[in-house]
């Protein structure tokens, strides 16, 4: 029996905001903490926690630095993070296809 598509979902990546973080960082060379916070409408504390989860999973790298006196935190997606994001999007697309296929099936009488 074929594996159900949802089994391919990665719990770390599937979370909506973490999916957003990975999507943004995959688009750029690096994304700054403030940009991510504003783009995803997260609080700083929440974003930090999500980043910790992703960093622990080896999906992003967090680099801290300074611009003048202002501390700045940059987030960079790793190769593993890119693969995980691609896999997640594939699974989601598969689920959408599955659902539309089921939607087209005639109702049982």
């Amino acid at each position: 029996m074929a594996e159900f598509p949802t089994n391919g979902l990665d719990d770390v990546v599937h979370q909506r905001h973490r999916l957003g973080i990975l999507t943004i960082t995959a688009e750029a060379d690096r994304a700054e903490f403030g940009y991510l916070r504003d783009a995803l409408s997260l609080t700083a504390g929440n974003l930090s926690r999500h980043l910790s989860v992703l960093e622990d999973a080896g999906l992003v790298q967090v680099e801290k630095g300074y611009k003048g006196r202002r501390p700045r935190t940059w987030v960079r997606i790793t190769g593993r993070g890119r693969s995980a994001l691609a896999a997640e999007l594939d699974v989601l697309a598969g689920l959408v296809r599955l659902r539309s296929a089921i939607g087209q099936r005639p109702e049982p009488s």
Partner: protein, 353 residues
């Protein structure tokens, strides 16, 4: 996920702990029903979520339609990915899990696409290299003014003084009659300046908006291309043929370099790379059009088009100028247009009353 430009008050993040806690509570309540009613159902394996009604259960995140109504919600294992969420759906550390579960895959995918589109729009800054290379091309015009008979008294283009590496036809323009000899020097300097300034521009802008475009690849590719343009003619001179194939006509196909406009082709290739780095369809279209135009300018005397259009030619001294000015005009106009579009896209939306 909102547009950062529309975020009302980023300052509220000053108290992460408190805000986080508040969010967490909201989630807890959202998930609470499911947690308590949950039990078992293993809705996760049901395609339509199996979430509605009392069957509910814990793993709506595994359901195709994301759980749906009733108390199907979430709060189950799927949402406790951090191991931080309790029975009631979390301590707030993983806010959004419930929201994720309640979103269907189609909705999540469209959200991802929207985020991606916004990120790309935020990164787009290609007006600068367009304008920069347009201006650099305009500044090269004096090097294309020809003199008949040439200043040296001969009718040939002659050779460039200086190191042999700069005799390169790629930067040179071997067929320009009596034109100033500094063309290869100019283009070498202009290319290096243009590439470096473009990389600095993207770096500066990335720091400013908090989202960096990968420009290192452009720098490396640009420098490698310039180095190749300098070195290949020398290689062709040393290695005249490989097997039965003559190297020179392959590496430097006659007309492509004779008008001295090959640097425009290199600029076009650079813009193609930038279009890829920016993931910009707009720049890709501009770059492809410009590249085609620069090839035309290298392979054909654009002056002829002027003649066909207006029935009269351009003075011999200026006959090479349309080859340069037309591509420059395209760059400048595209750059100005891109600047206006990008400025409008970043302008904050008017407040709704």
């Amino acid at each position: 996920m909102a547009d950062p430009a529309k975020r009302p008050d980023p300052g509220e993040d000053a108290d992460p702990g408190g805000v986080t806690g508040a969010s967490g509570e909201a989630d807890s309540s959202a998930d609470g029903g499911a947690g308590k009613n949950g039990g078992s159902g293993d809705a996760g394996q049901s395609v339509d979520g199996g979430a509605g009604g009392e069957g509910g259960s814990g793993d709506a995140g595994q359901s195709v339609d994301g759980g749906g109504g009733g108390n199907g919600g979430s709060g189950g294992a799927g949402q406790s990915v951090d191991g931080e969420d309790g029975e009631n759906g979390g301590d707030g550390g993983d806010i959004g899990s419930a929201a994720a579960a309640s979103r269907g895959p189609a909705e999540l995918l469209s959200e991802v696409r929207a985020i991606r589109r916004r990120s790309r729009l935020a990164r787009h800054a290609y007006w600068f290299p367009l304008v920069l290379f347009g201006l650099l091309t305009c500044a090269s015009v004096p090097f294309y003014v020809q003199h008949f008979p040439s200043r040296s008294g001969t009718v040939s283009g002659g050779t460039t003084p200086g190191p042999q590496i700069l005799q390169s036809g790629y930067f040179g323009g071997l067929g320009l009659m009596g034109a100033p000899r500094g063309l290869p020097y100019y283009w070498l300097g202009a290319m290096l300046l243009g590439i470096t300034a473009t990389v600095f521009w993207y770096r500066w802008r990335g720091n400013r908006i908090g989202l960096r475009t990968p420009a290192r690849g452009y720098l490396i590719t640009g420098l490698v291309v310039v180095a190749l343009a300098l070195a290949l003619p020398l290689v062709a001179e040393q290695v005249t043929r490989v097997g039965r194939v003559f190297v020179l006509p392959v590496l430097m196909p006659g007309d492509l370099v004779i008008r001295g406009t090959f640097p425009l082709v290199l600029i076009g290739l650079g813009l193609c790379y930038l279009a890829w780095a920016e993931r910009s369809v707009g720049l890709a279209i501009i770059a492809a059009g410009y590249l085609a135009l620069s090839l035309v300018a290298s392979l054909y005397d654009v002056e002829n088009l002027y003649y066909y259009a207006f029935g009269s030619g351009i003075s011999p001294a200026a006959s090479a100028l349309p080859n340069v000015l037309l591509p420059a005009l395209v760059l400048l106009l595209s750059g100005a247009g891109a600047w206006m579009v990008q400025r409008r896209q970043r302008a904050p939306a008017p407040e709704e009353s």
